[in-house]
Subunit: 181 residues, 2 copies
């Protein structure tokens, strides 16, 4: 297998530092030539596919400003500094649904857009949960809806469910159920 070149970093320029992302433009030298690499930097995120009861999957509906529409997603969030991704997943499920996972399984993790962004997304699965004692934050502008796996898959087919992590997680669960993973 061929060894690919990363190039040598000459200078890193932070061109924007925001609330979720930071944009850096690196001057690099690769194969004898000087060029640029632009990178959207993100702290990493998690998504958690849960079954609160058998085949009762909570999805969060919220307006997503960048795409200007309501998007249906598994509970998710970004990793806080120093937080283990599993903790993030437990916290997000609890905050968004009021349920606490008793155990969680790693489904898979992936780069959503490795061509321009360094985000790594961790997808977890939980099918044993209990009602949390803490109240969940209902100030967030979101709604929880419950779906069976078959219903959620049909929303993907109809183009009504368009979030990447949610599609991948639901396909994963469908394959797991048919022992095809």
């Amino acid at each position: 297998m061929r060894k690919f070149e990363r190039g040598e970093l000459l200078k890193r320029n932070v061109v924007y530092s925001g609330r979720i992302v930071e944009i850096v433009v690196d001057d690099i030298r690769i194969n004898g030539k000087e060029t640029l690499r632009e990178v959207v930097r993100h702290p990493g995120g998690v998504g958690i596919l849960a079954e609160l009861e058998p085949d009762r999957i909570p999805l969060v509906r919220q307006h997503r400003y960048p795409v200007d529409r309501d998007v249906l997603e598994i509970p998710a969030g970004k990793i806080e500094p120093g937080e283990d991704p599993r903790q993030t997943a437990v916290r997000e499920l609890e905050e968004e649904t009021g349920y606490k996972p008793l155990s969680i399984e790693t489904a898979f993790n992936y780069y959503p857009t490795p061509g321009y962004c360094d985000e790594l997304l961790h997808i977890y699965y939980a099918n044993k949960v209990e009602e949390a004692e803490t109240c969940f934050d209902d100030d967030e502008d979101l709604e929880i809806e419950m779906y069976s796996l078959a219903e959620a898959l049909s929303l993907i087919r109809e183009g009504e469910l368009k979030d990447g992590k949610t599609i991948a997680a639901l396909y994963w669960l469908a394959l797991k159920r048919t022992d095809s993973l």
Copy 2:
């Protein structure tokens, strides 16, 4: 179903305009309060899962600078101005593998990261292809490798295949083969 608020756009600030992405920060008014929304803008992309022969799937290996590793992906690229996403898919398959799809099927399309980016990714599937007459560009720093679906799924399980669109597309094909979509 509740109607969510998008907010009123007061002013758009383009903070970075790069080769792949543009970053805008919008001043908005929502529920009586003024606040900001940061958006990574992207022209949209495609990925194409192809079977050059039955169960012979080409994956592209290339170094992805943002994540600093080699990433294995279905042929993919960004949509050029005025281009129909299907054209992009045909072009990318041809440029990267030297094969031209005789017909393509829409698998699904999705937002990889709707929390901060507007990219819409179109995933296509092609299982009828012919060798293209044009030579493909071998200047690009990438390699084509061939996998069966079972091999590719095992790379996901082992954490060796970590690209979001590729994972979702392979899961889609696995479900299609078991008639579980």
